[in-house]
Structure formats: structure tokens, C-alpha cells
Symmetry: C2
Subunit: 409 residues, 2 copies
């Protein structure tokens, strides 16, 4: 079988309990779509039949994983962004039709082809930065037809752009206007019709709920979790972003894949989280955009060894952020993560947050060959520099999505 | 003379006292290196001999101007960034040779060719985002030979990359180790030898001083300002970044081109600033990286109509930021500027901060044809989206540095 040997690289394997799992002056052997071997340059000499790609001292990391995005939506919220800075209040903006409702209206109005066209440039930056797996949520359709339309667009993006797309059903993202003051009825619709239909079409890899005072309470979330569990679907939850109403505790009860945001999670709640397999997903983009000051309980998460992932939260309102590298810098600058934690957060722990850590997220034999070659000598450079993209080459499932330029990589 | 007509564009002219000076569905006529005419599509029909470029509803802005950078330096400070996040204190990092001194050592050690090579990728992102004028400071050489070396590299970047480089002498950036406890002697060397020699080589467009408790006091700055004034060179100053020791007042006394940083400027000092031609240059990147909480006196600056520019402050320590679009977003998100103020801050007011507003910074007849075509319909999109770069084409002095792709622009 033809094999490829990447040589003369500093390899951030992400193996081990913490840190980069860095192996300097190393090589990686790839056969078909799989990593076969990682080791030192001297040992690599025995692979005499492999095609050799000389990485010239560059860095190799796993393909990056953005494990929490709302990348598919109609329209933009630039006017609202501008109005807020010009002094309008949130309520005045809402009166003018702003807020999430404007995204729902624009998403419902857009055709599948239009949504796809609008999502492409947003995805392109993430692709350019070496993202090989992305999670994309529904949640701006808020009815059966439009939630399914969003998930189909997410699915198409994966087919067109050669990356893995994890599709998350987030029907319980906000209450649609037509169900004002009838949240329980909407939740019933989600459970009886919307989620089962989307799942029947094979469009749902996980189910998410926004548990918050401005969204859904834990009783309503429980109904959705029960419904999802009955369908055999894993769970995720937006929790403790603006207040603490017990979302994390509920998610722990159901052993959810992840709890996302968690700025308002209390230190005394972290031990319970640590007893589950649930990943803490931090979203510094929303923290930045909203000028939040409440920090997530990082020290407690570290102390209790809760795996921490980070993600862009790309969305039209609270986080119009489309760079995974900037997300990593923000996680360090704003939340105090170390660069190694930031890289684990967009590789191995992001894979865990998607239930895929047996397949991707680290560079070790048996895992899928998703990797990035960078024109830097050490991983901290990826996180330290703001606004630069040193991505040289991207391999997805053993094939070059962006091939190295000979004499450049 | 051959002329070019850019048609079907939304043009942010930046003319007028405030706002974008937006002219929708308009056209721009360019002859040689100069803007000849800006007006409506219907009036544009009379220019029958011009080559027509159809902008298809895209946005045209002036070429962007980054008016405060330290883009040329040796090495990086990624290790220090990582150590700080791993819990080391500033003094421990300094003991290990970190801080500005490490950049001075690396800059002195690097050849002119090496410095040029290292600066290129940092500049590339700014070029890709439509920057047509950049200011670059010396200040990591801190002796005659190395300050001049830095300014030569800055000058070369302009020759190689087709952009205007404004070279600022910042010999008084920090006290070099060999002058420890002898700041006045160092200032004497700057005034007697370093600055005059750099100026004699034609490498100095302006002279800057870092006035701060950890740098130089106002007495020392005054000596440099007197020396620069005697040489006929305009002045700039880093002031009120970490404390207030009267730097802005001194700069006002000398009618400096700009006062930069000014988080600690008091409201009661703004009226005096408003009586000069001095521009307030805000640097949100350093505010972000240093987790500063003291905000610049924006309301007072607005009230007294002080022109506000913003810049990346690209440097290896406090602002490794290389995106002018992200700088604009940060100015809005962190400082509360409006998107229109942010765009004025990287065009007309940035030109003022460099003493070039008679030549560049707005799209009006007689000014140099520096402009950018963007794949967005309204200027707020440039500021609202984080991590995307919708730049389609860049014209510098009437020539396409990045030409529009026919059928795409």
C-alpha cells in the first residue's frame, strides 16, 4: 500500500495527560487514511518505500476541530452591531426587529442554496486555518422545515469542502415568535415532530439545548434530553452563560458530551462535572463580544481534571468570530488558558466534546490522518501571534486538502 | 491620458466632518495616480473613454492606514507569552532575559536581510487587508548602528511591497542595558548622534518618544523634541499608557502629530489637546493583550472633537497583532468606538496622525488613488465580522497592487 512519510517535523502529538505531547525532529507515517507510526527521524529511516515530504523543521499538529459553531444562518447583524455602538439599547434594537429574531426571519426566508452560499466565506477562513472537523448547529429555523433545511446545508458544506461536519440539532435555541408565551407547546413540537423527523433523515449527530433565563428552563430541557436519549442521540447544552439555573447539573445527570459557555458555573459544581465524561467547552468569542466580566471557573476545572475544549461559537450575534487561531489566543488572553491547553482545546478535547476522540484529535497510530503543517517551530507561536495564519498544508483522512508546496513546507 | 472608472460601488469617501461620507451607487474616476472625480452613476456616463471596472455593488474605501506599528524586530516573544500564562511573574520572566530586552538583543543580532525576512509575513496580512500606508518605528536597536538598520529595513519593505512606509525614529523607546542608571547620558547620545545620523540618511519621517514611568520622563522627552524640532522633524509620543506623567501636555506644547495610547489621559486634559492639531491614536491591541481596564477618555475626545485614529501597534510584546480589520473590531468592542469612527481611524485620521491628510485618507478629487474594493455592501460589515477578510482588490497610487478578478469584484 502506498504510504507517505512526513519528515523533519516538530510534532505536537497531543498524546499524554497534558501538554503538547511534543516530539521534536520526528516523522509521521501515513497509510491510506490512517496514521501508522510516529517516531524519531533515526527510526524513520526504515520506511524506505514511503513517499517523503520534508517538513524542514515546521510544526505538525492534528487537524484543528471547531466543536461549537452556528455557522449556517441567513443575513447578518452588522446594523445591530452598529446601532448598539451608536447608543441604542437592546430593547430599542429589539423593537426595530433586531436580535436573534432577525436571524430567524432571514434564515427562514433564505433558500438552501442561499444559506450555503452565505456560509461559504465564513467557513473558508476556518478551512484556511487548518480546521478539518467542525460542528454546526441548527437553531435559526425553529420549525420543522427550516431546522431540517439548516442541517442539510451543514451536511452539504462537508461534502463540498472535504471536512467532517458534525450536525447538532438545536431546535430549542430560542422561542419562535409564533409560540410566544407557549414555550411548553413549542418543546412538545420539538420532541414530537422536529427532532424525530430531523433524526430520521440522518441529519442529527447530537442534540443541544439553550438552558438560560432568556431561553429554556431545566424542566423543558429535560423533555428534550429524554426524547434525544430515546432516539439514541448524544447530548450537549448551552449552560451558565448569563446566569446559573442548574443547566450543568442537568447535563451531568444525562452524561452529556459537553457543557458549553459555563462562565457562571460555580466552583462547588465542578466536582460533579468531573465525575462524568462531559467536556467543558469555553467560548471566549462570546465573552469578548458581550464584554462579559464573569470568568469560567478555570482553576476548579484544572484541579478536578475536567477536559477543556474551546470553540469559535461562530454566530451572527454574540460571536461573529471565524478564526480558530484567534479563538485560541482569546482563550489564553481572556480566560488565562496556557497555549498547550488552548491547543488541546481545539484538538483532543474538542474531539471528546464531539464523541470522536477514538478517531481524531491526536497524532497517534490508528487515528485518522487529519493534520496540519505550520510554518512555525513551536506550538506556542500559533497562539501568541494575532491575525497571522502560518498554515502551510492540510491533510484530511490521508489526502492533501491543501498540499505542501515543494521547497516551501 | 488613460483613465479608469470604477462603477456600481458603494463609496465610503470619508469626506465630511463625521461618518463614512457614504455615496451609494456611485463611481470613481482615476487618472494616473490621482482621484479625478467621485459621483453618481448617472453622471459617470459622460466618461466615455475610461476603462470601466464594474464593482457590482461592492464597497470602496480609501486604502487603509496603520499609523502606529513596531513591525520590524528580531525574534519573537512566544516563550514569554507562554511562561506568563503558566504562572511566571513579570520579574521572573525578566530574570530569564524576557521582556523588551530580549527583542533588543535579537534585533541587534539579526542582519538587515534577516530582519526583512522576519517582517515579511507580519506585513503580508496587513497588505492582504488593504493597507496601503504603514508607519514603522525603530526602537529595538537602541544604538546608532541598529536603529539605522531597523529604519533601512522599514524603508526596504516599502520598496518591495508597493506601499508607503512612514519611518519613525524611536531611539527613546527603552533604556539599553549598557546605559543602566544613565538615562540622561543615553538621551544625550540620541540627540547628539543617533537621531542626527538617521535623519541625515533620510530615514526619519517623524520622531517618537515613550514617555512613561518605565521609560523616559518629560524632561528627557523635551530634549528629544527640541533636537527633532531643530532638525525640522515632526513629533509623536507614546503617552499615558500605564500612568499619567504629563506626556500629553508636553506633546501638545510641541504640537505633535499624535499622542498614542492615552488610556490614562484625564478628561480635564482633553480641552488642551483639542486646541492643537494633535491626533489621539488609540491602540486597542495593547489594551487587549495587557488585560488593561482603564479606558481612554472617549466621550471627552468626542465632545472636544479631537480626531481619533486607531492602529495595530504590531509589536512582539504587548501587541503581536497583525490585522487592521481586527484592530477596528477591537476599537469598537473594547473602547466603544462606532464602526464609522473605526474606519475614520484607519483612513483620514490615521493620515492626519502621519501628517499626510493632504495626500491620502479619503476618496476625493486631488488625493492619491489609494483604495480598496471589498466584497461587502456596507462599511459596518468590515468591522462587525471577526477574522474574515473580504478584500477583493487594492489600488495604490493609481496602480492595482491586487487587481480585481473580472467577474468577481
Amino acid at each position: 500500500m502506498p504510504s507517505t512519510l512526513l519528515t523533519n517535523a516538530n510534532v505536537a502529538t497531543l498524546m499524554g495527560e497534558s501538554g503538547y505531547g511534543l516530539m521534536n525532529e520526528s516523522a509521521i507515517l501515513i497509510e491510506s487514511d490512517t496514521i501508522k507510526w510516529v517516531g524519531s527521524m533515526s527510526e524513520a529511516r526504515r520506511f524506505v518505500d514511503a513517499e517523503i515530504i520534508d517538513c524542514r523543521g515546521g510544526l505538525i499538529t492534528p487537524g484543528l476541530i471547531d466543536c461549537h459553531t452556528h455557522l449556517v444562518y441567513g443575513g447578518d447583524r452588522a446594523d445591530e452591531f452598529e446601532q448598539r455602538l451608536e447608543g441604542l439599547s437592546y430593547s430599542e434594537i429589539a423593537e426595530r426587529g433586531g436580535g436573534i429574531r432577525s436571524s430567524v426571519a432571514a434564515t427562514r426566508q433564505a433558500s438552501q442554496a442561499e444559506l450555503l452560499q452565505q456560509a461559504k466565506p465564513r467557513l473558508q477562513q476556518l478551512l484556511d486555518e487548518g480546521v478539518t472537523t467542525i460542528e454546526i448547529k441548527s437553531g435559526y429555523g425553529l420549525d420543522c422545515e427550516n431546522e431540517i433545511k439548516m442541517l442539510r446545508v451543514a451536511s452539504s458544506l462537508g461534502d463540498i469542502h472535504d471536512l467532517r461536519v458534525c450536525k447538532t440539532f438545536l431546535g430549542a435555541h430560542a422561542l419562535p415568535l409564533e409560540f410566544a408565551n407557549a414555550a411548553d407547546e413549542y418543546i412538545d413540537l420539538v420532541c414530537s415532530t422536529m427532532l424525530p423527523q430531523a433524526a430520521a433523515e440522518g441529519l442529527v449527530d447530537a442534540v443541544d439545548v439553550f438552558i438560560e433565563t432568556i431561553a429554556f428552563d431545566t424542566m423543558q430541557a429535560r423533555k428534550i434530553f429524554d426524547c434525544a436519549s430515546a432516539l439514541g442521540l448524544p447530548l450537549k447544552a448551552h449552560v451558565e452563560q448569563l446566569s446559573n439555573i442548574g443547566g450543568t447539573q442537568l447535563a451531568c445527570e444525562y452524561n452529556a458530551l459537553s457543557v458549553d459557555h459555563i462562565e457562571y458555573l460555580r466552583d462547588d459544581e465542578v466536582p460533579e462535572l468531573a465525575e462524568t465524561d462531559t467536556v467543558a467547552v469555553l467560548l471566549p468569542g462570546a465573552y469578548y463580544v458581550l464584554r462579559e466580566t464573569q470568568l469560567p471557573p478555570l482553576e476548579s476545572l484544572r484541579k478536578h481534571r475536567v477536559p477543556i475544549a474551546i470553540a469559535s461559537d461562530a454566530n451572527p450575534g454574540s460571536s461573529p468570530l471565524h478564526s480558530i487561531l484567534l479563538t485560541m489566543n482569546m482563550a489564553c488572553t481572556l480566560f488565562g488558558l496556557t497555549p498547550a491547553e488552548a491547543l488541546r482545546g481545539t484538538t483532543l478535547n474538542a474531539a471528546k466534546a464531539l464523541g470522536l476522540d477514538d478517531q481524531i484529535g491526536s497524532l497517534e497510530p490508528g487515528k485518522q490522518a487529519d493534520l496540519v503543517i505550520w510554518d512555525v517551530h513551536k506550538p506556542s507561536m500559533l497562539v501568541y501571534q494575532i491575525g497571522l495564519n502560518p498554515c502551510v498544508a492540510v491533510m484530511r483522512a490521508g489526502r492533501w486538502r491543501k498540499p505542501p508546496v515543494v521547497g516551501e513546507a
